[in-house]
Symmetry: C3
Subunit: 468 residues, 3 copies
């Protein structure tokens, strides 16, 4: 028995399924373009074996451990490291058994689809994971991981990845990217410029980060002009390592377009650490517009990922640090928030700003209408909690009628879970083909157009938008 249904996620009506299946068969084997994600470049630089099944699938994946936590399983018991170095479970087999015994919690979640896909397609497994099969699974996967064909570079090649972008802070030295470039391996792994730590006055170590950026570039980052120059220099440095994009994760989508004197004064207060919360927010907003202006010059595609309340649990944050599953989306406004940036540079044909949202109520109301008229705007795919079959379906149903397909950018896997990459792209390909097939079956699209669009949504739009 296969773990996966060959026709999964396709429409249930046999006639529509046949149309969608034909679309899918056409594009299922296209190479993966992964223009935004969080894989660790060190994997590809060192090409070391992944340590064990638990540390591959459980301990680092916040999608996985958050669901276990929600049912009273402690992060300690899943081996998630504590900030204070205190004791947590060290036995990967025990962690794996705990995960396997609770695998039913993931029923009908995207994690289940991604995991089963990895089990079947990456590790050749054909039996379901459960308490009973936990040890068999562990041994089988551990055995695989010890073999060369399961090293990061080999997996990269077998996943048919044409290009992948990682994400590094603006002050990163990019040494792993350098090591990849200097190696004899040809995998196309590029970086992306993530300046959150140097544009957010409330980020830990903001002033030091800005000072470091000065050292790295030779500009005087204690002045507004020097600070902007340092950004330009760092962006150029990131471009040397293949970067085609920047990425911005702010609490809101607020932008500002202050005059130079106001911007400079705000920067000065931010650097001294005595700006208010409102001023810090205004500064972040100003920096989005500054980044957009720099993109006019250097061509980097700008990505905005707003709207997440990070680390809602103070205790979990203090004990385990960031990215531990307690990040919760909030209502997000785009219309007023983006107006300053758009009025500054939004009609420039050379600019591309890719918008993401965790607030699906903005799809049809704000984002599709805006992307359907502003030349610079493109809609990123369904993101994070919405990177799922139902989430992707809602995304297409709520954006296509006002924004069309050509103001979208294909799929982002946005993941640090390496083995899930082909699984996630496969889900997106199936859901898109289900949607396109439904459009054909309801007379909204001709079949030849659907085939052309399936190719665009899978490959073409990602490649052209992100300039790969």
């Amino acid at each position: 028995m296969a773990l996966l249904d060959e026709d999964r996620l396709l429409p249930t009506d046999p006639g529509v399924r046949a149309i969608s299946r034909a679309l899918y068969d056409d594009i299922r084997d296209l190479p993966i373009i992964s223009p935004h994600g969080h894989t660790d470049p060190r994997w590809f630089a060192e090409d070391a074996a992944f340590p064990d099944p638990a540390r591959l699938f459980v301990t680092p994946d916040h999608y996985v451990f958050r669901m276990l936590v929600s049912q009273d399983i402690a992060l300690e018991d899943l081996g998630v490291p504590r900030e204070d170095g205190g004791p947590v479970e060290q036995d990967p087999r025990k962690i794996w058994r705990l995960f396997a015994g609770n695998y039913h919690l993931f029923r009908a979640t995207p994690s289940r689809l991604w995991l089963d896909y990895s089990f079947q397609h990456v590790f050749g497994i054909d039996r379901a994971l459960s308490a009973e099969t936990a040890d068999w699974y562990y041994d089988h996967i551990a055995d695989c991981l010890s073999r060369p064909e399961f090293r990061p570079r080999a997996l990269f090649d077998s996943f048919n990845i044409e290009a992948i972008a990682t994400t590094e802070p603006a002050t990163d030295d990019l040494k792993w990217h350098r090591m990849i470039r200097e190696s004899d391996w040809n995998g196309n792994v590029v970086t992306a410029y993530r300046p959150d730590g140097v544009v957010d006055p409330e980020a830990a170590g903001f002033a030091q980060n800005v000072a470091l950026m000065g050292e790295q570039t030779g500009f005087d980052t204690s002045s507004w002009a020097g600070y902007l120059d340092a950004h330009r220099a760092r962006r150029a440095y990131f471009k040397e390592f293949g970067a085609t994009s920047t990425d911005h994760g702010h609490l809101s989508a607020r932008t500002e377009d202050l005059g130079p004197d106001d911007a400079r004064a705000l920067f000065d207060r931010a650097l001294k650490g005595d700006c208010t919360a409102e001023e810090a927010d205004a500064f972040r907003g100003q920096m989005l517009t500054e980044m957009a202006r720099m993109s006019l010059d250097d061509g980097l595609v700008m990505q905005i990922h707003p709207g997440c309340e990070r680390s809602q649990s103070d205790r979990v944050l203090a004990r385990f640090g960031r990215d531990k599953g307690f990040d919760i989306p909030r209502r997000t406004d785009y219309v007023d928030a983006l107006a300053p940036l758009l009025n500054a540079v939004g009609l420039e044909p050379s600019l591309t700003v890719v918008l993401f949202t965790l607030d699906e109520s903005t799809y049809a109301r704000e984002l599709a209408p805006m992307a359907g008229v502003w030349p610079c705007l493109r809609l990123g795919p369904a993101w994070w909690f919405h990177d799922s079959p139902e989430g992707m379906r809602r995304y297409r149903e709520m954006t296509t009628e006002s924004a069309g397909f050509y103001n979208t950018v294909g799929f982002n896997d946005d993941t640090r879970a390496f083995c899930s990459i082909p699984a996630r792209h496969d889900v997106a390909r199936r859901v898109d083909c289900a949607y396109l097939g439904t459009l054909v079956a309801t007379g909204r699209l001709r079949e030849d157009e659907a085939h052309e669009l399936a190719h665009e949504l899978t490959y073409g739009l990602a490649k052209t938008t992100y300039k790969f």
Copy 2:
């Protein structure tokens, strides 16, 4: 001709329908667990006959009379009592005819489904309600109601209700519950602790209610400490009458976690009646956290039902009182609102907080992500205006992918319309089986898992979550 289609609410594709039908056939006859609702315990205490068809189906059901009001029918003409005792229609047959003649207004509403189910399954009727059949219907139902098998206890038994919770104010003497317990009838009817009238400084008679709670418990409720002790005592008293839960209906989901001095000062002002609207709101928020802390000790499951603007029409409120159909949902924030409570007690494994919403935009954005990580949180079912086939479908589609099934709690009928209870549970069972069948047909769930889940969603989760 039957009023009801045997396959109603199941998927339309024949293949998927067959899967869903098999799931439904498996669970359709499971006993009803009704852990949250508003039936009147007096019915079961006295076991008196229901008076007439109009006073069973029309006059007390705000779902029914609101729709008639929306089309210019006066509440007076439906026999809804006036606060001033002024004249309203007294002839139940006239009221029934008015209702029957406008039955087309309910087309495609859940009320129509519930009513037709009651007509067919409770009263054995096989013809449609209309102006023409109004009198026949009236006579038939009136005749039934005069028979012993249509008394409340007999209906309770024939509905296959294993357990039902009513809801009483914190200061209720629970005399009807006492009478049920002292009777020779074995129906499992329990109460639930609803403290709105003693935690909301803006509730009518707040200070008197608090004083009454002092008399009832022997604690000095003019002091913050005594007031909290009185809550503990009343909760214990409610537990004697089977309560396993508390219920909280606030305008927002706001919680607070003030220091003891601030809380005490706020309570003092509230009791004197001179707190501002903002302070009253803060006090309600503080009391949610206090209730959660008490749940850690006594194990009562906490239910939060926020987000309804009560009695939007001043004139209807003055003339007819509360609960007259003019209650309208509002946008509700959960992320900031619940943070104080969650940071105080949200990681405690012994706590269960069941969240409800009238703002569906929070399902995928806030509630499922929060329930998918906080150990204390569970998602209540689709509520009130959303307790409907489309509402339930959206609930599953928007919560399952982030929260899974095991962070949900089964169905609540939440009703005072007794005959609708089996109808409402049947709708939920069908919609859940339709959803599960669709997951199977699209390769997201195995069929054996779907059968297990159908049982959980129908019976298991309600029983374990609500500790029946």
Copy 3:
């Protein structure tokens, strides 16, 4: 090959499709009632030929040119006139080619459905529009437009329009409407009263508009009482030209019910041009309630279209003026916003207020619950960005269960694109029949009820609500 699939927009399951198809066949040829829209009465007054394909389909249609702009095509190149009279493309064939060469951008948008319908049904075209067929299309349509059967009145008759409302500002002289009435043509074209320019203190020329209204009516519009009298007189004048409704396009749904002294003082400040933004907003809100009061007397149906941020691009507004595709919906609150008006007049049976929204999250949460109880409220159809197959489906799925069908008002095409009118009504008819067929197939409606409802949704509700 036909451009259009005969079964487009109907359900994909063959059994359900058959039910829906039968419903559609029953109502497809019913006359069009178009109670709200923006066609130009001059067309019907002068009955001149439309100038050319580009100026019929591209240059005046913001749905069309916005999508082209979003992909870096300049408004100048589409012949959209500049406010300063500067040069824009004058060659209609060039504009047409630009449009045709980018027709793929409209895939799966409602514009594509409307355009293809017009091409096939109005112009008898059976080949797809593309760069290759651009010239053939141009010549064919240009040839048609030169013939008498493509003049506005002939098209009106061939579209089977029983009645259509245009929309004119309160100060319009209605001369084109007069000309229509005085002609020998019997087409039923009526006006609607749109007072935005005389109720919005922030509208361009507000004081002059109010003064003009004084001249037109003989009332002293520098006083609050005279200003209200002038409104009454203008409404009566509009009624002479067939008006059955008023229309109000405000940024929010805010209403106020101030005492006469406060209202008068606000008016005085507004007229002097020294009210604050908040006061201007309050005045607009007050005027909605005043308009509702006048409707009690003169019977005009009130339409409220709130929630759009107009002209987000300052540069496009300055260069090309309003209505250039940069209008973006915003989150809209209805519960608090409408309470003053509703509490003033909302229980009056003679009042009808039709509510529209661009914020779909309010359908199930606010609008359907409110329309499902307030006698005056009716829900307008899915509007603007949501006037689309998916938008209409969501509208029915999210409003019917709480508001029923009889608190809705049928379809509005709301368009200035004349040839799209039958296309838009056809989309609505198909989507409604798809929805009704699905209800039948899932046992939520009997087939005879569905046929009755199909007629109501297509024809009956529009005719009775809007008093045609």
